[in-house]
């Protein structure tokens, strides 16, 4: 019989265990999501993050060691982003018809996201470093990290704030827009893509294919716009 501590230290330092744990945690989250009849509050990303975060804290495993295993899943984010071209292509006629609403919604949503997060955080006493880390919070993580860096923020904190933003957007969008009576799938998807990047986009695809396609566009366009807007808006809060 092998010493269980040795076995644990062998397994927990290799990629196999954490890759497996990531799949299981997501599977639990996805099952809960389906059992709850696709309730936005049982967001599979949030459930998986809470489960895995709990396991890491309880076992004293550093995040970096976890990531060594989970990076194989993380890597697929890039190819998946490229794959968004497929639903986008299927919706191209709808996109062409909605060019002006798209541009207006992008400008409004993007500016609102940056101005409001800085205004609220500043009112609650956030310092300049935290404000810089917060400014790109609605943008997809790789871009947000770059923007945060150039603004003097803390890139890895920005990554955490981006993920939190995505989960908040994914959880709130459906009940909130239902309550307010928005029925246009294009507007619903586009707005959540702009405000809550890929996690919001993943949520939009769970609800409606058109919403998902418009969310992909919103996410992509806001990545570019925020790169230009964030430094300008941040300087107003300096």
């Amino acid at each position: 019989m092998t010493d269980p501590f040795k076995l644990w230290s062998y397994l927990s330092s290799g990629p196999l265990l954490w890759l497996w744990a990531t799949l299981i945690a997501y599977w639990v989250g996805d099952t809960l999501f389906k059992l709850s009849r696709r309730s936005p509050f049982a967001n599979p990303v949030m459930v998986a993050v809470v489960l895995l975060g709990g396991v890491l804290l309880m076992t004293g495993t550093p995040y970096q060691r976890y990531f060594d295993g989970a990076q194989f899943v993380h890597f697929m984010l890039g190819p998946a982003t490229v794959c968004l071209a497929v639903p986008l292509h299927a919706n191209l006629p709808k996109v062409r018809k909605a060019l002006l609403p798209i541009i207006a919604g992008l400008l409004a949503g993007s500016a609102t996201a940056i101005v409001s997060v800085l205004a609220i955080a500043k009112a609650m006493g956030a310092g300049p470093g935290l404000l810089a880390s917060l400014a790109p919070k609605s943008v997809t993580a790789p871009v947000a990290i770059g923007i945060s860096q150039s603004l003097g923020g803390e890139p890895s904190l920005t990554a955490a704030l981006v993920i939190l933003t995505g989960m908040i957007g994914a959880i709130t969008v459906t009940p909130m827009l239902n309550l307010l009576g928005f029925r246009d799938w294009r507007a619903r998807g586009f707005a959540v893509g702009v405000a809550a990047h890929g996690i919001g986009t993943a949520r939009a695809f769970q609800v409606h294919e058109t919403a998902g396609a418009f969310a992909s566009i919103g996410m992509g366009m806001n990545a570019v716009l925020t790169a230009f807007l964030a430094p300008v808006v941040l300087s107003l809060f300096g």
Binding site: A70, V82, A108, A160
Partner: protein
């Protein structure tokens, strides 16, 4: 499967190269998405080859955010220190941005007569 994956990675690779070479604010995969969109518009064959694989990958898009999401545990101290302010800022701003974005989209769609068809 293999041709489709190669094509998807090729688009991403081209995106990374061009994004870095021209120092664009756009990340490589987003540029790659635009390239694939163009390729699919030009070639029916490419469209049919890529579609099933892309649909498989996108089916569980949420899963791919989990590893980055777990990174939150590495920042629990910073998040706890500013807990209330951060929660107010993130929740308030995200909800506001969604409502404003959707409202402006709908308003301009009405003004320009671009109604939703479903």
């Amino acid at each position: 499967m293999i041709p489709a994956l190669s094509l998807i990675l090729a688009c991403q690779l081209a995106g990374e190269i061009i994004s870095r070479a021209l120092m664009l604010p756009l990340p490589g995969p987003v540029l790659g998405m635009i390239f694939l969109l163009v390729l699919m518009s030009v070639s029916h064959t490419i469209k049919e080859v890529v579609r099933p694989v892309a649909q498989f990958i996108l089916q569980h898009l949420s899963l791919l955010f989990v590893p980055a999401g777990v990174g939150i545990v590495a920042h629990l101290d910073a998040l706890r220190e500013h807990g209330l302010g951060l929660a107010a800022a993130l929740i308030g701003s995200t909800m506001l941005a969604i409502v404003v974005g959707a409202a402006v989209f709908v308003a301009v769609a009405k003004l320009t007569g671009s109604a939703a068809d479903d």
